[in-house]
């Protein structure tokens, strides 16, 4: 055939191939996208900032001590509100020492198991 392709052509063809997907598939992908957006992580919830500024904890010219406290409390709320669930998961985790010892004494080096 003697067709000549450049790598950019591959990119172009693969892009075109995405429009070959069935409407059913495209539909499902769109729904997956919407579902994911519902769970989007945002940094500090706005209600927290409102509470903090109301109680004059965050303001325009915080002193050094206040600034540390600001971030401390802000992070506190962020941690509590956003990561509350994972905290409890962590503390309820079992003791992994048996498997850890197995990994550490195994023939294969530890880094083999690391992503």
């Amino acid at each position: 055939m003697g067709i000549k392709l450049k790598i950019e052509d591959i990119q172009h063809l693969l892009n075109r191939s995405t429009s070959d997907l069935s409407t059913d598939t495209l539909d499902k992908l769109q729904r997956a996208r919407r579902a994911a957006l519902q769970h989007q992580q945002t940094t500090q919830p706005t209600a927290v900032r409102a509470w903090l500024s109301q109680h004059e904890i965050i303001g325009h010219h915080p002193s050094p001590q206040h600034r540390v406290l600001n971030w401390g409390l802000a992070a506190l709320f962020a941690v509590v509100l956003v990561s509350g669930v994972s905290y409890w998961q962590h503390t309820s985790e079992r003791d992994h020492s048996a498997i850890d010892i197995a990994i550490l004494t195994d023939d294969l080096p530890v880094h083999m198991y690391v992503d």
Partner: protein, 124 residues
Amino acid sequence: MMMCHSKLLLAAALLAPLAVLAAPWNSLNADQQQVLAPLSVTWNTLPESEQKSFVGIANGYPKLTPEKQQRLHEQLETWGKLTTEQRHRAREKFTAFSKVPEERREAVKQMVREQQADPASPAK
């Protein structure tokens, strides 16, 4: 001033909820400290559940053969430097790998041994 400091302490304590329950390095006995020496610097930053696992490792150490003790000692520093998430995933991978049939596992180990012996050679 005092109120400010106590608020800070409260914030700090609540900031790292896991650290509130954590055991400081000094609460470990001398044997445990010796085994876990590579972790001494970062010990206080580890979550309580992780510390529990490491203490378990230290407690299991005396029961190991000298070769295994040596191996553990070599690898502990690497292990300690991983993030909690990395350790978690490593445990998953190790568990998955241990379910693989013996010959396959042995073949992987052989491949790794060969590669470590001669890193420059291309993979077959």
